[in-house]
């Protein structure tokens, strides 16, 4: 299969999985199949476009951390924090107060915990508990609640706990405030801290159980090894000693064989290493390491990349889990795409342990939250490890402090090529030459779900997409008639 053959190339049959379900947001998978049921092409398309980089222009920079959260309701905190780090720089802040840093880290661990729990328990667990080809009517969170209430409820409560941390710090579970240029706008009160402390032992226990479940699922199924598996490069942020780090550090890229591509790179230089390729059939761009080119330069981000790339984890239970993971990979990187789930649960446990430590840190309730500012800077670059991987926010502002340019590389964009590769591998492994069934099609979605993509928008096609649409008001009046020209222009 050629990755970039036009989707309209001659084939006898087109099959679409539209929308891909049990992922956050919407995308679709298309297959082109010849007379003998051989796969001619398999693609994962992102059909959403919002134009954020344009319409943020002209907004005041301090508004950005609140504003950008509306990009994504699943990991709004990640956007708040990445943008927050960028606006700190714009405001001329060199160093946050220790309390503000701790609070932001706690917020981030809460976010990571809720997002990882959501992804495994609410979205992906049905595939593993019921089987990839099980009855699609049962294969969802309601089915898990009915059949495995204990597992499902622990997942629900793990997510709830992460959301409660976010609510305590930002005032709202989704799209709260908190991060302001130079610090945080509210301290954690003693009573809020105590309420969170009351449940942390259960959270630790359930995180360990979630990890054990995932270790068992993965190791008990030898067929998981090759399922959509890719030998790829990995990009992540690590701490200065190579430890797993979500909030602040240098960029590390390792090749599939574990050799270093670069390490401890200052993320403010990201433009020198990453470029993004546009392809005609997806609104999502395809990032790559510019030195390696579009063909060889693609990479994976997220839990698998982070656990493969780091040299150690600072918390003991997660570190022991990392060593087991490492042993499974014979001391090298684990390339199994489905091991994303396992790596994610190692991180879930690391979050629970880190939250435990931060809640016991007396500095966490300090009210010393604002750093001194110096001269305003013309640009700011903020990078963090979001649940789904390395997240880049870059803003330029004018003398009035209004945004003039924005560039975002969101985590799922970095996994775009990998998701397409995995879809192709699974299509060839499981569907090629077969009579296509719903059960087989779900295999493609299982491969995509492993990445926990956050596509955050809508699609649902009824047949072929029109090239012309008439928009009628509900009272029958025509609001607008639009036609797409050959140049992509809409008129």
């Amino acid at each position: 299969m050629e990755p970039d053959k036009p989707a309209s190339s001659p084939a006898t049959r087109r099959i679409a999985i539209d929308p891909v379900t049990r992922v956050e947001g919407h995308g679709k998978i298309t297959l082109l199949i010849d007379d003998h049921n051989h796969i001619v092409e398999a693609r994962f398309h992102i059909v959403e476009f919002r134009g954020f980089e344009k319409f943020i222009q002209g907004r005041p920079y301090w508004e950005v951390p609140f504003f950008v959260q509306r990009l994504c309701g699943i990991c709004p905190v990640s956007h708040q924090l990445a943008a927050g780090k960028a606006v700190d720089q714009i405001a001329g802040v060199r160093q946050l107060t220790p309390a503000a840093t701790k609070l932001r880290r706690l917020l981030h661990f809460g976010q990571m915990l809720q997002s990882h729990a959501l992804h495994f328990f609410h979205l992906s667990s049905p595939d593993f508990l019921f089987g990839f080809g099980s009855d699609p009517r049962q294969r969802n969170i309601a089915g898990v609640l009915a059949q495995y209430p204990e597992i499902a409820m622990k997942g629900v409560k793990l997510r709830k706990y992460g959301q409660q941390i976010i609510e305590a710090i930002t005032g709202k579970r989704i799209h709260g405030t908190g991060t302001v240029p130079g610090g945080m706008n509210k301290a954690l009160t003693l009573s809020e801290r105590d309420a969170l402390l009351a449940d942390i032992d259960d959270i630790l226990q359930w995180s360990q159980e979630a990890l054990t479940l995932n270790e068992q699922i993965h190791t008990a199924h030898p067929e998981h090894r090759d399922f959509g598996t890719l030998r790829s490069h990995y990009l992540s942020m690590t701490g200065s000693n190579g430890e797993l780090e979500f909030y602040h550090g240098g960029l590390r890229a390792n090749a599939a064989d574990g050799s270093s591509i670069f390490d401890q790179l200052d993320y403010c230089n990201y433009q020198q290493i990453i470029k993004e390729e546009v392809r005609s059939w997806s609104y999502l761009k395809f990032p790559y390491f510019s030195a390696l080119g579009t063909g060889q330069g693609w990479y994976r981000v997220g839990p698998l990349a982070r656990i493969n790339n780091c040299d150690r984890i600072s918390t003991p239970l997660a570190e022991a889990a990392r060593l087991r993971f490492r042993a499974y990979g014979n001391g090298g990187a684990v390339h199994d795409t489905l091991a994303y789930h396992w790596a994610r649960m190692i991180e879930l446990l690391h979050c629970a342990e880190s939250i435990h430590a931060l809640l016991h840190d007396t500095g966490i309730t300090s009210t010393d939250l604002m750093a001194d500012k110096s001269e305003r800077q013309p640009q700011g670059i903020g990078v963090i490890e979001a649940p789904r991987g390395t997240l880049f926010h870059h803003y330029q502002v004018n003398e009035e402090g209004l945004v003039t340019q924005a560039n975002l590389i969101v985590s799922t964009t970095s996994n775009n090529q990998a998701m397409n590769e995995s879809v192709r591998v699974v299509a060839n492994q499981y569907l090629d030459g077969q009579e296509i069934t719903e059960a087989l099609l779900n295999h493609l979605e299982v491969a995509v779900r492993a990445y926990d993509p956050c596509l955050s928008c809508a699609t649902h096609a009824l047949g072929k997409m029109p090239l012309q649409v008439t928009l009628q008001h509900r009272d029958g009046k025509i609001i607008h008639q639009l036609t797409k020209g050959v140049d992509g222009a809409v008129r």
Binding site: E24, P76, H460, M465, A489
Partner: protein
């Protein structure tokens, strides 16, 4: 909740996200433990949380997000045709929300910024494949395209607000949402 209803037949709920951020769906999940009892009372039809890809006849449809492309129009019309009661959930569905900020700009300028002139781009071109839905000139509120029965404001509405909407609807009554639950942020 009347047991009468649940004995007769489980009511069906469908949900979808158009041009939204998925936050309204996440807030729905923020019911936490109460989700279990809700899911005992209702059956989820088409929703991002299930693998049902085409909406069947439903009692209640929840719509997150505004209308920004041709697919959104199709999905919205399908929901209207399939759902007895249609609810616009959240700022984006009600008035376009943050995605509607692109209405102040020319769509071509937005596409140009993203795919032609932005930072670090290679192979600049505006994606234009048959698989990509036609973008609309603007982001529209759902009520401009189809009649809507109820509006649940907020960005997102809280989990409590969802429950205050759904519980009476499931009991066949008109929902009354407490003022304290009506938020617009």
């Amino acid at each position: 909740m009347t047991t009468e209803h649940t004995i007769k037949r489980k009511l069906k709920i469908a949900t979808t996200s158009l041009a939204g951020c998925f936050g309204c769906h996440m807030s729905f999940l923020d019911m936490d433990e109460r989700l279990a009892s809700l899911l005992e009372q209702v059956e989820l039809d088409r929703s991002p949380f299930t693998d049902i890809k085409h909406c069947g006849p439903c009692d209640i449809g929840l719509i997150e997000g505004g209308v920004c492309n041709a697919e959104n129009v199709h999905v919205l019309r399908e929901f209207r045709a399939s759902c007895k009661i249609l609810v616009a959930v959240g700022a984006c569905a009600i008035n376009g929300g943050v995605p509607a900020m692109r209405n102040y700009f020319d769509l071509q300028d937005c596409l140009q910024e993203a795919y032609l002139t932005g930072t670090g781009i290679t192979n600049p071109q505006i994606p234009n494949d048959i698989e990509l839905p036609l973008l609309l000139d603007k982001v529209y509120p759902v009520s401009e395209i189809v009649p809507i029965d109820y509006f649940l404001p907020g960005c997102p509405p809280s989990a409590d607000a969802f429950l205050q909407l759904l519980q009476p609807l499931l009991a066949g009554q008109k929902p009354v949402i407490a003022t304290s639950q009506l938020h617009y942020d």
